[in-house]
C-alpha cells in the first residue's frame, strides 16, 4: 500500500498534544518562519492562490481569492484601518462533523502557526479563535498553546524579530449553530445577536467592528503551514484530481468503525465507507447518505463511486459540505431522520428571516404528523412548497437552504416511504428510535443524528 501523506494530522496527538518545543522539533513553525522572513505578504497570497486551497468550512470558496479582497495599505497610509482581524471559525456545530475538534484538541500549535501565516498575509493585527462552547478541552489546549507562543514571541509584538505583530485570543461561543455562519459569528464576537449580516459589505472589507476581517475554517487554516513549507505544487499533487490537498473525511451512522481520516481530496465515497469506516455494521444495509454534514442532499448507493471533491459531488446533486458522511441504513426510518434534522434546524434558526424562522417549524409540524401516522396527502404538497419557500435566494442566509437539502432529496429518493406513512397511518420501522420517544415540537436541544 502506498504511504498516504497526511500533513494535517501527522502531528495530531489527542492524548497529549505537542508542546511548542516538541512541535518545533517535529518541524513546526517552519512555515510561519519562512513566511515571515522569506516572503512578502503578497508572495504568501500568491502561493496560497496557486495552491488551489479551497475553504473547508462547507462552501469551498478559494481561500486565496477570499484574501485578495482584503484592502492592503502602506505603513504610513492615513486611510489604513486601526485594526484588521483574522478569525478562525471553530464553531463546528454541523451535525455529523467533528474534524475541527480533532485538529484543535490534537494539534493546537498547528492552528496558531497557521493563523500567524494568514494574519501576516492579510496584515491582520488581531486574531480570534471562535470556539464552539462545548469544546472545553480544545479551549484549554488552545489557550495553553497561545501562552507558549506568546512566551517564545510567536505571538505578540514584533514576532521573531520581524515588524509583524499579532495578538490572538480564544473566544468561546455561547452555543448556537448559526454562530458558525461567518457574519453571524462576527456579530456574536461583537456581543450582538448572532444574526447573519447583509452582504455586501463582505467581511473582508467591513467585518468585525466594521474593520476588514477574514473568517476561515480551522481545517482550511491548518493547511497553510504545509503549503508555505512545501509549496503550491506539492499541495496540488496531494490530490489525484482538480481539487488540491487532503481532506479530513468522517463517517457516522451504522458503519462498523465510525471515525475520521485524512485522505487525498477526491477519495471516493466507497473507499471512505468501505475501506476506512469498515462498511456497514452487521445486519444493516446502506440506504443512503448525507455526504457532508446535515445540510447536504442525500446520495444513494448508486453514487458510491463519486469522488468526494467539490465539483464531483455537486454533479450528482449534493454538496461536499464538511466531508462528514452521515449514513442512513435500512432499519431506520428516513422520515424520522429528516424530521430529526429538521428539528435541529428549526431549533437553530436565528429567527431573522421569515422563510426559515416560520418555515422550518412548519416543516417539523408536518413531518411530525407524517411520522406519527396522522399525515395527509396534502401534506406532501406542503412539504414541497416549503422546500421551495426556503430555497436559495429566498432567505437571508444559507441555513434554511441547508435545512431544505436533506428534506428535498428525501422527498425525491424516499417518496414511497412518505406515502406509506400517510397511507398506512403509521411508521413501519418498529425499532424505538429517538424520534418516536420525544415527538414534541419543543425538543430542548437539537443534536447530532448518530443512530
Amino acid at each position: 500500500m502506498i504511504e498516504i501523506i497526511r500533513p494535517l494530522t501527522q502531528l495530531v496527538n489527542l492524548q497529549s498534544p505537542l508542546s511548542l518545543n516538541d512541535y518545533i522539533s517535529e518541524g513546526g513553525y517552519q512555515g510561519a518562519s519562512k513566511a515571515l522572513h522569506d516572503y512578502s505578504p503578497k508572495q504568501v497570497l500568491d502561493l496560497v492562490g496557486d495552491s488551489g486551497l479551497k475553504g473547508r468550512g462547507g462552501a469551498g470558496f478559494p481561500t486565496g481569492m477570499k484574501w485578495s479582497c482584503v484592502p492592503m495599505f502602506e505603513a504610513d497610509d492615513d486611510n489604513a484601518p486601526a485594526f484588521k482581524y483574522l478569525v478562525a471559525n471553530a464553531d463546528e456545530m454541523e451535525p455529523g462533523t467533528f474534524k475541527d475538534r480533532y485538529l484543535l484538541e490534537g494539534a493546537p500549535h498547528q492552528l496558531v502557526e497557521a493563523m500567524i501565516i494568514a494574519a501576516y498575509t492579510i496584515a491582520a493585527n488581531r486574531g480570534y479563535i471562535f470556539l464552539r462552547g462545548e469544546y472545553h478541552l480544545a479551549g484549554k489546549r488552545l489557550q495553553q498553546a497561545i501562552n507558549e507562543a506568546y512566551q517564545q514571541n510567536w505571538l505578540g509584538k514584533n514576532i521573531q524579530g520581524t515588524n509583524f505583530s499579532f495578538d490572538l485570543y480564544v473566544h468561546t461561543s455561547a452555543g448556537r449553530y448559526i454562530c458558525g455562519e461567518e457574519t453571524a459569528l462576527i456579530n456574536a464576537l461583537e456581543g450582538r445577536r448572532a444574526n447573519p449580516r447583509a452582504k455586501p459589505p463582505f467581511p473582508q472589507i467591513s467585518g468585525l467592528f466594521g474593520q476588514p476581517t477574514v473568517v476561515n475554517n480551522v481545517e482550511t487554516l491548518c493547511n497553510l503551514p504545509h503549503i508555505v513549507k512545501q509549496g503550491a505544487d506539492w499541495f496540488k499533487a496531494l490530490s489525484p484530481n482538480s481539487d488540491s490537498g487532503t481532506k479530513i473525511y468522517a463517517a457516522c451512522g451504522r458503519v462498523k468503525s465510525p471515525g475520521l481520516w485524512e485522505l487525498p481530496m477526491g477519495t471516493t465515497i466507497r473507499e471512505i465507507l468501505y475501506q476506512h469506516a469498515g462498511g456497514m455494521a452487521g445486519g444493516f444495509k446502506l440506504r443512503g447518505l448525507l455526504p457532508g454534514g446535515a445540510s447536504t442532499d442525500f446520495l444513494l448507493p448508486e453514487h458510491l463511486d463519486t469522488p468526494m471533491d467539490f465539483d464531483s459531488i455537486a454533479k450528482v446533486g449534493s454538496r461536499l459540505g464538511t466531508g462528514g458522511l452521515i449514513v442512513l441504513d435500512d432499519k431506520n426510518c428516513p422520515v424520522a431522520m429528516v424530521l430529526n434534522l429538521m428539528r435541529f434546524f428549526a431549533q437553530e434558526s436565528c429567527g431573522f428571516c421569515t422563510p426559515c424562522r416560520d418555515g422550518t417549524p412548519w416543516a417539523v409540524e408536518v413531518l411530525t404528523r407524517i411520522e406519527q401516522g396522522t399525515g395527509r396527502k396534502e401534506d406532501l404538497d406542503t412539504l414541497y412548497n416549503l422546500c421551495d419557500f426556503m430555497w436559495l435566494g429566498k432567505t437571508h442566509c444559507a441555513l434554511a437552504p441547508g435545512a431544505v437539502e436533506p428534506l428535498k432529496s428525501a422527498l425525491r429518493y424516499f417518496s414511497d416511504e412518505f406515502e406509506q406513512h400517510i397511507d398506512n397511518g403509521c411508521c413501519s420501522y418498529q425499532q424505538d428510535n429517538i424520534v418516536n420517544k420525544s415527538l414534541t415540537l419543543q425538543s430542548s436541544q437539537g443534536g447530532a443524528v448518530h443512530g
Binding site: 448556537r176 448559526i178 445577536r193 448572532a194 449580516r197 447583509a198 452582504k199 455586501p200 459589505p201 472589507i205 467591513s206 467585518g207 467592528f209 466594521g210 474593520q211 428549526a346 431549533q347 437553530e348 434558526s349 436565528c350 429567527g351 431573522f352 428571516c353 421569515t354 422563510p355 424562522r357 416560520d358 418555515g359 422550518t360 417549524p361 412548519w362 409540524e365 408536518v366 404528523r369 406542503t382 412548497n385 419557500f389 435566494g393 429566498k394 432567505t395 437571508h396 415540537l441
Partner: protein, 984 residues
C-alpha cells in the same frame, strides 16, 4: 440645486411588468416601486429606517433583459435601482412567494383581529389581503408569550408579533433606547424589556406606529377605544414644544382619543415624541374650564353675547394690560396686543426673560434675515454639532432624535465611499462601527445625548458663556497669536478639559461640511445667546470651509410667534405689577397665561390692586382661580389658529371637533372683548377700527388684521379645487344615530365656518389638501398609506405648498426702552458665579416640562412614578468632603420648599453644580441655590409613604377621568342643540 431637482436628475427607467417608469436611483427598488403608487407588500423596511431584508415580503422577480423569461427572485428593499432594469410584481413565482411569506407569518399570528386595537388600520391585515393569502394551511398549534407592563403609554400583546424587527430597529438603533431589546431565537423571538417596567425612551409611542401589527398599541387610546374609521380627525400642530411637529388628532363623541403622527417632510417626518403623542390628554382633564365664570347668564341654557357685553360694559373705555402667552395662537397674541396697545402688552416675561428675549431677537435678526433656520430634516444632514446649554431630549425631543441621526452621517459617508447606499441600514451600521460625526455639548446637567458626544462639559450657564467666548477668541486668532494667547492668564484660567474642548471643536469645525450650532433659551441666559451671536459673527468673518448653521430653540409651541410681537414698548412682569399697583390700568387680560413668573405674594398683590382680571384659558390655573371673569378658551383640538415654530415657520392647526359651547377660540373671545370694551379711546392706533365687530372665522380675522396692521404676515389661505375635505372616514359608522337616545332625528352637522374641513364623512379625499386630516388610501388602511400621498417615498406630500415665515427683522428704535434693569440681571448672575452656594439645575422632564401636557393624567403618574426615586447628582469631591455616601437620602431645600432626594455622584461635575429630577424644582431652569441637610431613616420611610399615597391619588384621578369620559360618551356633548354664542 434643491432636493427635488437632484432627485429628478437621478431618475432612470425601470420596467415594471413591461411598463416603463421613471424611478429615482437614490433609493432602493421597493421605495421606487411604491413611489409609482404600485402595491408591493413589505414589513421590515421603513422609509426612515431603511432596509435589512428580514421579512422577505417585498420579493419581486428581476430579469436580466427582455429575453430572460425565468428571472431571479430579489428582495426589492435590498436591491438598488439601475437604468433599464426589468422586474415583475405580477409573475407567478414572486406572487406565490409573497403569499407564502404571509402564510408563514400566520402560523403564529393569532386570529384576533376583531378584538385587536390595530384592527382596521393594521398593516398586516392590508398586506395579507394584498398577497391574497386567505386560507390557512398550517395545522399546528401557536406559540404563546407573556406580555409586559411597559408603562402608562404603550400596551404590549406579543402574541401578535410577526418578527419584523422594526420595533427594536426604531427603539434601539434609531432612537438610542437602552431598555428594550430582542430576546430568544428561532420562532420564539421576543421583543420587550428585560422585565416589566416603564419604557424609558422619550419616543416609545412611535412603537405604536412602527409596529405593523397590534403588538404595541396606544394604551391611552385603547382605554377609551374606537376604531380608526369612527374617528373624526383634523390636521393639527403639536402644542407642546417649539418644533411644531405635525399631528393628526382623532376625536369621537366629543372627547379627544389620540394623536397620530402627520407626515411632514421638513419637520417630524414619521416620528413624534411621547409628549406630542400623549400630551393631548389635557384636553380631557378634569381641570378643563367649560363654563364662563363671573358673567350673569340671562338664560340658564346658554350664554349669549349680550351677557358678555353686559358683564364687560362696566369697563368700557378703560385701559387694560394684556398678557400674551407662548402657548396661545399667533392670532390671539397679535389681537391682544392690538386691543390693549403696545404700551400695555406683556409677554408675561420678567426682566431676566425680557433680556433673554431681546438677545434672542438680536441673534435672529443678525443671522436669519436672508437665511432660514434649518428644518429638522436639514438638521439630520449636518455632520458637526456643537450643542450649547440645552437638554434637548426634554425640551425639543424631536430635535434630539434628529441630532442622533446627524451623528450617523460620518458612518454613512464612510459607507458611501465603499459604494453602500444609506438605505442599506444594517450594512451602513456594520461599516460605521462606533464612528460618530463630531458632536460637542455643554450644559449644566447630564443628558441622554451625552453618550454621542466626543466631549461633553457639565457647566453652569456663566461658565458656558466663558467657554463660548474663549472659543470665539481662539477661532479669530492666527496660529501665531494663538500660541501667545495660550500663555495668557485668561486662557490658563480654563481647565484642561475646557481647553481641549475648545481646541477639538475648532479642529472638527475646520473639516465639517455642514456644521451646526444648537442653542436655546432654556437656561434663561441672555449671556449664552449673546456669546453665540459673537461666535456666529466671528465664524462669518472666518474663511471656514463651510457655512456654519445655527439653530436656536425656544421652549413653547408659539414662543417665536410671541417673540415676534415683543418690541421696545412691551412691558415686563415687574412693570405689569407696577402699573397695576399705581392704578394706571384698570386690570388685566390674561391670554392662556398661568403667570408662573409671579411668586404667590406678587400674585396676591396683583389681585389686590387690579380692578378686574379677565382670564381666557382652557384649563384652571392659579390665575384663573383669582380672576373676576373667566372665559373658556378652546384647547388645541377645539380651535383654529397658527403657531410659529422655532424656525419662524407659521403652521396652521385646525379644529378637530366643535367643543360644547361656550368654549370658543381665544381670538373669538378677544373679538367680543374688543367690541364690548371699545378700547378706541385708550389707544390712538385703534381709532380707525371703531366699528370693530366680532369675527366669525379665521379668514375674517385675517382680513381684518391685514387691512389694519402692516405687521400681520400674509397667510395664503389654501385654495381648494373642489368642495370640502371630510374629517370623517367614508365608512364612519353611527354618526346619524349617535344621538338616538335623545331623538330619532339625525343631528344637524355642525357647520365649520372656518375652512375646508367638514364635520362629516361627505367630501373630498383626505389628500385633496396640503394638511390632511388623516391618511388613508385604497388597500392601505394603516398610517403607511402615507406612501400614496408623497411625490416620492420620504419626499414632499403631493399637495405641498411653501409655508410662510414670520420676519426676523427686529430692528429697534433704541435699545434703552427694553425693560431690562441691568443691575438686577447682574445680581442674578453673580449669585451663580459666586460658586459658594450649591446651584441646582433641574433635569428636564418630558411629562412635566410643559404646562398643558403636564395636566394629562398619565403624565402626572409618570412624573411621580414610584419606579425611580428623586435623585440629586453632586460632584464626587463634594460628596466626599461632606462624608456622604452615594445612595444616601438628603433633604433639599430652597425657595420655601423642601423635599427629599437620593444622592448620586457624578465625576464630571464641578463642585458647586448640582442637578437632579426633583419634581418641585422643575421650573427653576436658570438655577436655584439649594441647601442640603441629612435626614433620618424614619423620615425617608415617611417620605416614601407619602409618595405612594400621592401616586395612588393620581391613579384615582386617572381612573376617574377615564370613567367620566365613558359616561359622557352616553351624553354626546355635540352642539346639535341650536343656540348660544355660536349662532348669534
Amino acid at each position: 440645486m434643491d432636493d427635488k431637482n437632484i432627485s429628478a436628475a437621478q431618475k432612470v427607467t425601470v420596467y415594471i411588468d413591461n411598463i416603463a417608469y421613471q424611478v429615482s436611483k437614490e433609493n432602493n427598488l421597493l421605495a421606487g416601486v411604491l413611489s409609482q403608487k404600485l402595491n408591493l407588500p413589505y414589513f421590515c423596511w421603513h422609509p426612515s429606517m431603511g432596509s435589512v431584508g428580514a421579512c422577505r415580503q417585498c420579493a419581486v422577480t428581476q430579469y436580466q433583459d427582455e429575453n430572460d423569461t425565468r428571472g431571479r427572485l430579489v428582495m426589492a428593499c435590498m436591491t438598488s435601482v439601475s437604468d433599464g432594469m426589468r422586474i415583475s410584481l405580477q409573475d407567478k413565482d414572486s406572487a406565490k412567494f409573497r403569499e407564502q411569506v404571509i402564510g408563514a407569518m400566520m402560523t403564529n399570528h393569532p386570529h384576533d383581529c376583531p378584538v385587536c386595537a390595530e384592527g382596521g388600520e393594521c398593516h398586516l391585515q392590508d398586506m395579507t389581503v394584498m398577497t391574497g393569502h386567505s386560507v390557512r394551511d398550517y395545522q399546528g398549534t401557536k406559540r404563546t408569550f407573556n406580555n409586559q407592563y411597559l408603562g402608562e403609554l404603550v400596551g404590549h400583546e406579543m402574541n401578535r408579533c410577526i418578527t419584523c424587527y422594526r420595533c427594536t430597529r426604531f427603539y434601539n438603533d434609531y432612537a438610542g433606547g437602552k431598555d428594550f431589546g430582542v430576546y430568544g431565537s428561532k420562532n420564539q423571538v421576543y421583543f420587550g424589556r428585560q422585565k416589566d417596567g416603564t419604557l424609558a425612551s422619550e419616543f416609545s409611542g412611535n412603537l405604536v406606529e412602527v409596529c405593523p401589527t397590534g403588538v404595541f398599541t396606544n394604551k391611552v387610546f385603547s382605554a377609551h377605544y374606537t376604531r380608526k374609521w369612527d374617528l373624526q380627525s383634523a390636521p393639527s400642530v403639536c402644542a407642546h414644544c417649539s418644533v411644531g411637529c405635525n399631528t393628526s388628532i382623532g376625536e369621537r363623541y366629543g372627547s379627544v382619543r389620540r394623536v397620530m403622527n402627520r407626515y411632514n417632510y421638513d419637520l417630524n417626518g414619521y416620528f413624534l415624541c411621547d409628549r406630542g403623542r400623549y400630551g393631548i390628554g389635557f384636553v380631557n382633564s378634569a381641570q378643563r374650564i367649560k363654563k364662563a365664570q363671573g358673567i350673569n347668564q340671562t338664560s340658564p341654557e346658554k350664554l349669549t353675547r349680550l351677557d358678555v357685553s353686559r358683564a364687560l360694559a362696566h369697563f368700557r373705555d378703560k385701559r387694560f394690560i394684556g398678557i400674551g402667552s407662548a402657548r396661545a395662537s399667533l392670532e390671539a397674541n397679535f389681537y391682544l396686543k392690538q386691543i390693549v396697545g403696545e404700551d400695555n402688552f406683556s409677554a408675561g416675561y420678567n426682566r431676566q426673560q425680557m433680556a433673554v428675549a431681546k438677545e434672542y431677537q438680536q441673534l435672529l435678526s443678525d443671522n436669519f434675515i436672508d437665511d432660514k433656520m434649518l428644518s429638522l430634516r436639514e438638521i439630520e444632514q449636518c455632520d458637526f454639532i456643537l450643542l450649547v446649554g440645552e437638554d434637548l431630549t426634554k425640551t425639543s425631543p424631536r430635535i434630539a432624535l434628529a441630532l442622533r441621526q446627524a451623528c450617523r452621517n460620518s458612518g454613512i459617508e464612510k459607507a458611501a465611499s465603499m459604494g453602500v447606499a444609506s438605505w442599506q441600514d444594517s450594512a451602513v451600521r456594520t461599516i460605521s462601527g462606533k464612528r460618530n460625526s463630531p458632536f460637542f455639548a455643554m450644559q449644566p446637567m447630564a443628558t441622554k445625548l451625552d453618550e454621542l458626544t466626543e466631549q461633553c462639559l457639565l457647566l453652569a450657564p456663566d461658565d458656558i458663556e466663558q467657554v463660548m467666548l474663549a472659543l470665539t477668541t481662539v477661532l479669530c486668532l492666527t496660529d501665531n497669536e494663538k500660541s501667545n494667547y495660550f500663555h495668557q492668564e485668561e486662557w490658563q484660567a480654563f481647565t484642561f478639559e475646557q481647553q481641549s474642548f475648545i481646541n477639538k471643536v475648532i479642529s472638527a469645525l475646520a473639516t465639517a461640511k455642514k456644521p451646526l450650532i444648537v442653542t436655546g433659551d432654556s437656561l434663561l441666559s441672555a449671556k449664552i445667546l449673546l456669546a453665540t451671536n459673537k461666535l456666529m459673527a466671528c465664524l462669518k468673518n472666518q474663511a471656514t470651509p463651510s457655512k456654519v448653521n445655527l439653530v436656536v430653540l425656544p421652549s413653547a409651541s408659539n414662543s417665536i410667534g410671541l417673540l415676534s410681537l415683543i418690541d421696545e414698548k412691551s412691558i415686563s412682569s415687574e412693570q405689569v405689577l407696577a402699573k397695576v399697583s399705581t392704578k394706571t390700568v384698570a386690570g388685566l387680560i390674561c391670554l392662556e397665561q398661568e403667570l408662573t413668573v409671579y411668586t404667590n405674594e406678587q400674585l396676591t398683590l396683583l389681585r389686590e390692586h387690579a380692578e378686574v382680571i379677565i382670564v381666557l384659558d382652557h384649563s384652571e390655573s392659579r390665575v384663573s382661580q383669582l380672576a373676576d371673569i373667566v372665559l373658556p378658551a378652546a384647547a388645541i383640538s377645539e380651535g383654529n389658529g397658527h403657531f410659529v415654530n422655532y424656525q419662524g415657520r407659521i403652521q396652521r392647526f385646525s379644529q378637530v371637533h366643535a367643543a360644547a359651547l361656550p368654549i370658543l377660540d381665544s381670538w373669538k373671545w378677544l373679538s367680543y372683548i374688543e367690541k364690548a370694551l371699545d378700547f378706541s379711546i385708550s389707544n390712538q392706533a385703534t381709532l380707525q377700527r371703531k366699528k370693530a365687530k366680532p369675527k366669525e372665522n379665521l379668514a375674517e380675522l385675517h382680513d381684518y388684521f391685514s387691512e389694519n396692521f402692516t405687521l400681520w404676515p400674509t397667510l395664503k389661505d389654501e385654495q381648494l379645487e373642489q368642495k370640502f375635505v371630510a374629517r370623517m372616514t367614508k365608512r364612519a359608522s353611527g354618526r346619524t344615530s349617535q344621538s338616538a337616545n335623545f331623538s330619532v332625528h339625525e343631528a344637524k352637522v355642525v357647520e365649520d365656518k372656518d375652512q375646508h374641513y367638514r364635520f362629516s364623512m361627505e367630501g373630498n379625499k383626505p389628500n385633496a389638501v396640503k394638511n390632511m386630516p388623516f391618511t388613508w388610501a385604497p388597500g392601505w388602511n394603516s398610517n403607511q398609506s402615507i406612501n400614496h400621498h408623497q411625490v416620492e417615498i420620504q419626499g414632499q406630500l403631493s399637495h405641498y405648498s411653501d409655508d410662510v415665515y414670520v420676519s426676523f427683522n427686529f430692528t429697534r428704535e433704541s435699545d434703552k426702552n427694553v425693560a431690562v434693569n441691568d443691575d438686577t440681571l447682574a445680581a442674578v448672575i453673580t449669585d451663580l458665579t459666586a460658586k459658594k452656594t450649591l446651584t441646582y439645575f433641574p433635569q428636564g422632564c418630558l411629562f412635566q416640562g410643559e404646562w398643558q401636557s403636564a395636566l394629562t393624567a398619565e403624565f402626572q403618574l409618570l412624573a411621580h412614578s414610584l419606579e425611580k426615586n428623586p435623585t440629586l447628582y453632586l460632584s464626587t469631591e463634594f460628596v466626599e468632603s461632606q462624608g456622604w455616601e452615594p445612595g444616601q437620602w438628603l433633604n433639599v431645600s430652597a425657595d420655601n420648599k423642601s423635599c427629599f432626594a437620593q444622592l448620586k455622584c457624578n465625576n464630571e461635575l464641578p463642585q458647586y453644580l448640582v442637578y437632579g429630577n426633583i419634581n418641585d424644582f422643575v421650573d427653576h431652569k436658570s438655577g436655584l441655590s439649594i441647601k442640603l441637610t441629612e435626614v433620618s431613616e424614619a423620615d425617608v420611610i415617611q417620605y416614601q409613604k407619602n409618595r405612594q399615597t400621592h401616586y395612588q391619588h393620581l391613579k384615582v384621578i386617572q381612573q376617574n377621568t377615564l370613567k367620566q369620559l365613558k359616561i359622557s360618551d352616553q351624553h354626546i356633548p355635540i352642539r346639535f342643540v341650536a343656540g348660544g354664542l355660536d349662532d348669534a
